[in-house]
């Protein structure tokens, strides 16, 4: 009996030991930012980290307070951030998408308004293109400084398919409708759409609402005015979109296709489709998948204008940029202000351009000639520079809990499960900050 009791105790002790070790291991992850001579910078882990590492190294060369770069790989970024932001392990400076990705943090009073920093160092604002800077403003205060590349949404086309059908890249909505008709008669799917991703479908709404109603409609909706969804402009945008869908512009099986798995880019490059509305990253996607096509036959242009619409034809939608925001309780605001000033340094711009990102600083223009593919970069830079308004993607402009409802609504409007009234109701049901 005695040996058994001893054994039992040994097992219990062993189990407790193993478990406590496991717990300790969990607890030690992520060093705290309590050290007085360093601050932590959290970024989305991907290829751009090379640039961030370089900038941090440059900063640490001269600064007494050192920056420490932490990366969170890939898709889980927002989740990890949400988990860590209100703990002692929270980063001092962190990557985000502006808009809805930070508005819950602003509401929880976790972020430092950067307006004082900007007052001391006006370059933190004046060195960036204004249309981009707005994205990280919440309730009139600035909470972020641009820190990567801009990605406006463009209307891409297959030059060869358009030439074969005798169609010019459309400048107006009527041009586009006419092109759809001609291309359909030629047996080509007029517009490639990776509807399975759903944010791809959403881009059509973003641009049509902008062109028909102007950027103000969405801004008021985001600010909490649900009436605007029922306005005549809103209905007109939906009617026009419906007309395009009913004309067979997207074919019938778009919801089984995705952009992210290479489905819709292949439609465009293989000539099975003529157009695709996509973020500027589509260019590098095509370069990877089909370099010859990207070089010779991939055309691009702005979204068509709408006659009688309130939105300027130069307005853009898309990912304006990524931003660095600062935690309110940081002890190193001064050092961080210095750090943020590197986000428009020549070194920053050159290394971003070297990996294919297009920064949105005013000094970017002078480096474009030396970059790969200067023509495409210059085109985008001009668009962003001249855009009277640059609307952040709807799914990122709204707080995160609205993302799925938006996706569901746009998909159901496209496949006919929702009519205009249903779509309007779905948008009115979204929660605003």
């Amino acid at each position: 009996m005695k040996t058994r009791a001893r054994f039992r105790r040994a097992v219990a002790g062993g189990a407790a030991l193993v478990l406590s070790l496991g717990l300790a291991a969990c607890g030690s992850g992520g060093s705290s930012s309590g050290d007085s001579d360093e601050f932590h910078v959290l970024v989305y882990g991907d290829a751009t980290n090379r640039v961030e590492e370089r900038i941090v190294a440059t900063f640490n060369k001269t600064s007494e307070v050192k920056a420490v770069l932490d990366t969170v790989p890939g898709a889980d970024y927002q989740q990890k951030l949400q988990t860590v932001i209100n703990t002692p392990q929270a980063p001092d400076v962190f990557f985000n998408w502006g808009g809805g990705s930070i508005s819950p943090f602003v509401e929880a009073d976790l972020l430092l308004p950067l307006d004082d920093m900007i007052k001391n160092e006006p370059g933190l604002k004046s060195n960036f293109l204004p249309s981009v800077f707005e994205t990280a403003q919440v309730d009139g205060k600035t909470y972020g400084v641009p820190m990567r590349g801009t990605q406006p949404v463009l209307l891409f086309h297959n030059k060869k398919v358009l030439a074969d059908a005798g169609v010019e890249p459309p400048r107006t909505w009527d041009d586009l409708l006419a092109a759809v008709k001609t291309l359909k008669a030629e047996g080509v799917t007029p517009i490639a759409l990776g509807g399975g991703d759903r944010w791809t479908t959403m881009m059509w709404f973003e641009y049509l609402y902008d062109r028909v109603a102007g950027p103000e409609l969405f801004k008021s909706a985001l600010a909490g005015d649900k009436e605007v969804w029922e306005s005549a402009d809103s209905r007109k945008a939906l009617d026009m979109l419906k007309e395009l869908i009913d004309a067979g512009a997207f074919g019938t099986n778009y919801d089984s296709v995705k952009f992210t798995d290479g489905g819709s880019p292949a439609l465009l490059s293989s000539g099975k489709a003529a157009f695709e509305l996509m973020g500027s990253w589509a260019y590098s996607t095509q370069q990877d998948a089909d370099p010859d096509f990207a070089k010779n036959d991939l055309g691009y242009g702005a979204f068509p204008s709408v006659e009688g619409g309130k939105g300027d034809a130069a307005n853009l939608v898309g990912n304006t940029n990524n931003f660095y925001s600062v935690r309110k309780s940081t002890e190193h605001a001064d050092a961080i202000a210095e750090f943020l000033q590197l986000m428009y340094s020549d070194e920053f711009v050159e290394s971003q351009l070297a990996i294919g990102n297009l920064p949105t600083t005013t000094n970017t223009a002078k480096f474009l000639d030396a970059a790969d593919n200067p023509e495409y970069l210059k085109y985008q830079y001009d668009l962003v520079d001249k855009a009277p308004a640059f609307q952040l993607s709807w799914d990122q402009a709204y707080p995160p809990k609205n993302m799925t409802p938006i996706y569901v609504a746009v998909q159901q409007f496209f496949n006919g499960q929702l009519d205009a009234d249903g779509f309007i109701k779905a948008m009115q049901a979204l929660t605003t900050a």
Partner: protein
């Protein structure tokens, strides 16, 4: 055949085991082991199953975005849940997918398992090939099928007579069929494995006797194999039901709950609420509801089948 000799040998030893010296020393040696042996498992289960379950239950009565501390919200989440058309639809979809899974996979896996239990020469090789899907991760399987079913470049583009425009994942019936098919492809091997083992355990004397009585193979299958597999069928169905109700990865990768909400099953809806929308309270409520439903269903299956009252399949022999 192995199954012929094994039970006989065991039976031969049985008298020696049970009729030995029945002193207290012997009883202690053969009696139940001490509770200490169960401790690691109990601690593990408590820490990683019971505690989280309790926390989820608590969380389901709060609102929490992951920022700050959870705020008590009473029954708000539950009331919203039962008035949420997507939630109610998701429960039906979960049940539908589960039922379809059981209906499709059970006959397939019984036939395959019984076949694989036989003495045929090609059996080992073919079984090994057939069990490959079981070894692949659900994510890999889903990615693979997604590419295979691409309407423009996959199989449907070459077989328009069967698939029409190939809008499989973009239509309700198409998407549900694909999910059922992919789960069947992936999980039938697991259940076939269960049936293979169970079939091998059926004493060969039964078949020999049946043969003497003149029963053909089909009769043997329905009158010996199937009744003898009863317990395995129940085990397998419970696994399918619980697995079906908690299916997640195939939906995440193949359909993301679309088109619209047509494949938003409860487990995926929970994920959307909690980890996409940061409504952890609502997500916790869905999770708890799923636990309750899955437990209830398993209990019903066990009761209805009489599994809990059965000692073994060999009773009456």
């Amino acid at each position: 055949m192995v199954s012929l000799t094994a039970p006989v040998a065991k039976d031969g030893h049985r008298p020696a085991r049970t009729s030995g010296p029945a002193g207290p020393a012997a009883r202690r040696r053969t009696g139940r082991p001490g509770i200490g042996w169960a401790l690691p498992a109990v601690v593990f289960f408590a820490l990683f199953a019971v505690v989280p379950l309790v926390l989820v239950a608590v969380l389901s009565f709060t609102t929490w975005s992951g920022l700050g501390s959870p705020e008590f919200a009473g029954f708000d989440n539950w009331v919203t849940l039962f008035h949420d058309p997507v939630m109610i639809k998701s429960l039906w979809l979960s049940v539908l997918l589960t039922v379809l899974g059981v209906v499709v996979q059970t006959p397939l896996s019984i036939l395959l398992g019984v076949w694989a239990a036989g003495p045929q020469r090609n059996r080992a090789v073919l079984s090994a090939v057939f069990f490959v899907p079981l070894l692949l991760s659900a994510t890999a399987v889903s990615v693979l099928w997604r590419a295979l079913l691409d309407p423009n470049f996959g199989v449907p583009s070459q077989a328009a007579w069967l698939f029409g425009d190939g809008n499989l994942l973009g239509s309700r019936t198409g998407a549900i069929s694909v999910l059922v098919l992919v789960s069947a492809w992936q999980f039938t091997p697991l259940h076939a494995l269960i049936y293979q083992g169970a079939t091998r355990a059926i004493p060969a004397v039964l078949y020999q006797a049946a043969e003497i009585d003149g029963a053909g193979r089909v009769r043997q299958f329905f009158h010996i194999t199937l009744p003898q597999l009863r317990n395995s069928i129940i085990t397998s169905v419970i696994l399918m039901v619980v697995g079906g109700l908690t299916t997640f990865d195939t939906v995440l990768i193949l359909t993301q709950g679309g088109p619209g909400t047509d494949t938003t099953i409860s487990a995926y809806y929970m994920y959307q609420k909690a980890f996409k929308g940061f409504e952890f309270g609502a997500g916790a409520a869905i999770a708890l509801l799923l636990v309750l439903v899955a437990t209830a269903v398993s209990l019903v299956v066990v009761r209805v089948s009489g599994y809990d009252r059965m000692a073994g399949t060999k009773e009456g022999m």
